[in-house]
Symmetry: C2
Subunit: 525 residues, 2 copies
């Protein structure tokens, strides 16, 4: 027995042929070799594979290329059997199952390399834009089935196109891994999520077993298996577990923090010895908070803003340098930081009319600041922010900071001690940490501490297909997380109030942020 | 968590309901309780059950009656979920998959009691009477599929009738266990057995995993699982493993022996510390040997024969006291013993014409002995034995004895040391040990040492459904068996020749057998 591709799910196995002195059956002979190669106590084999086995082993002189996977209990599964040194594509599919967007990625199981990706809107958006709307839809007759079909049909249809582009067939896909929030993964498994939004907020399952893809309705090789990343609870999903796996927090000596701002703000703090997590879905203070800033990033959306401190001229950058049509989250954060540094908003985030000059006006009793005048925008209308937008941003950044403060405090760590600060998702990809520090959204750490992970959910889902060593870490990560319930109590509200200033009531926390001389002067409404 | 039916697969579980302080998901909550109840590291749950779970648990106030099983790796499987204290029948199906006959037995999983049985001819007999003919049929196009369908269709059809008689539906059956020889189980699993009869005699699988019954085509509850008893090799099947389980050889302090004479003669010797096995499919000496004696037992078949030592009157007993229509194996053994003790055959088993008197005649150069004259038989023809039948019996009994001698010798045990001698199957049920000893077929042990097990294959298959404690023993039994290859070498042939006398060349081995004074006198051909 000589396995190759030692660190892959694909292994080429050479068996000693049976003899009168060694008359172990074909399946048991292969299983013994696979157990050794995979380090498991058992290896399951579907009846379909078992039926082929004796003729195949003899045809191939007792050599075979095997595709292995595991179930949630750690038992091995032989998912595919191919001729030794096959040239057929042996692939896996990683899925980032977002509420808004779904990303598919094909992984070559032999090399671990990416062969292609497809990004598309979650088709369940047709039912409701957010998790809550979709969970409510489940109450309608056939609602659960409808939501389930929308996502599986969507994946199957996009996957066919993606496979075409990659020059493979869905039949070449032998394993699937899916990372998503708890509600999305429940809908994909056809599980009713209704109890997730009702006290005491219980999902149907925390650690789904590894499914046959046929049981999930995913059209790949019929022998393929699908791993659904486990969740810690209704508000802390498998996308975060995948993120932890992706940034190796569970293997690091130093304490790191991972912040994912997607539909919710989720935070994990920890190292190889412990992990503490919380999610920002904690009551009215955060409602509509961190996440509802600006337009979704896309061509023509303003993602970077600077203001010249002397001339107060506003300089913008748009994605793909297209004419501006909106401002995304990172742009709003840049803007707030720049407005604050140019003394155009005060420490409460209120627009200072005198400093804003022509750009400022009051409409319907609400302050407006124009960033791009109508004649320069792609929409033909003024692009800007209102005082309400800025108030919302202040609440968001205060919520974010309060969550970070609460979680570090809970384990007795000072924010300044954090050496590594991972920011996940599109938020992390676009945000300028300098601006986020300036408005006091994130702690005042050296910029080099901040690392943008990109799509860490997809990254984690991909890693487990490329590296069997990651498989066992998934449930260990899940089981090792202590979930901190964010109680919106007086303590929390006090912290939140103190964080509603720029950068913070306690300026000593942000030594790198220079506060304008008259930054304390209240602006006009 | 308070499981009931502690020693059954059916357990009623009471869970603590979820709360804000204990927000484990429904599936994981149940799994934790089931792992404790079953003593396993994981419990699998089919997606269908998982989908029902949250609503059911709430409907039942977090109590449920569960039906559990295990896979070959020892992981638990939740096969069914019912309301707590359900009155619905929860049953299992034990199958003795014989080459000639198949027996189905319904077991109540809550009580372990038998609810009913069905016995029928293996429908594959239409293809060929024995294992070899059926394996050859597999070479024909569609042959394997045809044999597979014959047995699964046969079981399904008989099972429907049996369920009707028992007042249940096949849907009430949640687990199946099948014990049969290696070829029959392969055909039932749809596995090609062609390599079993070709050197080096390799089955497709030794230890089949636990299958979904849907994968085997067995029409019971769609969530049900089927255990196929493992084999030690092509010639030592799961029926014997079931037999060992049934007689608890693997748990006994004292060394016991188990002899099963069915299609083959198989022997296991051992105790809780070791087991040695062999099968009498070992070359020409045994060919057509032990097994081809007389008619299959049934109404009107002579199963007991005595001969009055003085008058030489033959007294017969027929099954169900019906008019005689044939002689079964046990009848032939009784007859040979009686003929020998009445000095009507000599120590070589040759008919002594003088002593046989009117009953003896020569036809086509072959000696015939009439037992029942034509006018008293159900067939209207003489019933009797020929010298060829007796010669065949002598070879059979010599083969049996030689196998027993070989296996006890191999571990250095004297036959007289055996305290417990189990005889399985119909052979064991009908045979008179006294007669078998008299002809030197089995060792000269006290009659009380002999125990007829009846259908131990069915018995073992039933036990595993009634007692989860038996499950883990099955593979331990299999793995603990040392298989003794019967080499028909000079040593074996010497033993065989010595055993071809009545009771044996070495009379000291059979002190309880009185040899007639002139028993050494050669008879006429």
């Amino acid at each position: 027995m000589k396995p190759t591709h030692d660190n892959r799910w694909v292994k080429t196995i050479t068996l000693s042929p049976p003899s009168l002195g060694d008359n172990t059956a074909d399946a048991d002979r292969l299983e013994t070799a696979l157990k050794k190669a995979l380090g498991t106590r058992t290896v399951h084999m579907d009846p379909g594979l078992l039926k082929q086995l004796p003729a195949r082993l003899r045809e191939w002189d007792y050599r075979a290329t095997t595709v292995l996977f595991k179930d949630a209990g750690g038992a091995g599964i032989l998912v595919h059997l191919a001729a030794p040194d096959t040239t057929k594509a042996l692939c896996g599919l990683a899925v980032d199952l977002g509420t808004t967007r779904v990303v598919l990625r094909i992984i070559d199981l032999c090399t671990g390399k990416h062969r292609g990706e497809s990004v598309f809107d979650n088709p369940q958006i047709a039912i409701g834009p957010d998790v809550l709307a979709r969970i409510h839809h489940v109450e309608k007759p056939g609602g659960l089935d409808q939501l389930n079909r929308l996502i599986t049909d969507g994946i199957n249809s996009r996957l066919r196109d993606l496979c075409n582009r990659c020059g493979i067939s869905p039949e070449n896909i032998h394993m699937v891994s899916v990372a998503g929030n708890t509600a999305m993964t429940h809908l994909m498994m056809g599980l009713n999520p209704r109890w997730m939004i009702r006290e005491p907020y219980i999902p149907a399952v925390n650690r789904p077993d590894v499914f046959k893809t046929t049981e999930l309705g995913i059209d790949v090789h019929p022998g393929a298996r699908a791993l659904i990343f486990p969740n810690v609870g209704s508000y802390f999903g498998g996308d975060l577990i995948a993120g932890i796996l992706y940034c190796d927090m569970d293997q690091r000596e130093e304490t790191a923090i991972l912040v994912d701002v997607g539909t919710n703000a989720e935070v994990v703090l920890g190292n190889r010895n412990w992990m503490m997590a919380c999610a920002g879905a904690a009551g009215p203070a955060l409602e509509g908070g961190v996440t509802r800033m600006g337009t979704t990033a896309g061509p023509g959306v303003i993602d970077r803003i600077t203001i010249d401190a002397n001339s107060l001229a506003i300089d913008i950058h748009t994605i793909e340098n297209r004419p501006p049509r909106g401002i995304c989250g990172s742009g709003v954060i840049d803007l707030a930081a720049a407005l604050f540094q140019s003394n155009m908003i005060d420490i409460r985030g209120k627009l200072i009319a005198d400093r804003c000059g022509d750009r400022f006006r009051i409409k319907d009793g609400l302050g407006h600041l124009t960033i791009v005048p109508a004649d320069q925008s792609a929409t033909g209308e003024d692009l800007g922010v209102t005082q309400a937008d800025l108030d919302s941003l202040i609440r968001s950044k205060a919520a974010m900071y309060t969550i970070l403060e609460t979680i570090t405090d809970s384990v007795g760590i000072r924010q300044q001690e954090l050496e590594t600060f991972f920011v996940a998702g599109t938020f992390g990809a676009y945000i300028d940490p300098r601006s986020a520090i300036t408005i006091g959204m994130i702690p005042d750490l050296p910029i080099a501490s901040y690392h943008s992970l990109g799509n860490s959910s997809l990254g984690g889902a991909s890693r487990v297909l490329a590296d069997p060593g990651c498989f066992d870490r998934i449930n260990r990560i899940r089981d090792g997380i202590t979930y901190l319930e964010l109680n919106v109590n007086q303590d929390f509200m006090n912290r939140f109030s103190a964080a509603k200033f720029l950068p913070h009531t306690d300026r000593s926390r942000f030594p790198s942020v220079t506060v304008p001389a008259n930054g304390n002067r209240p602006g006009r409404p």
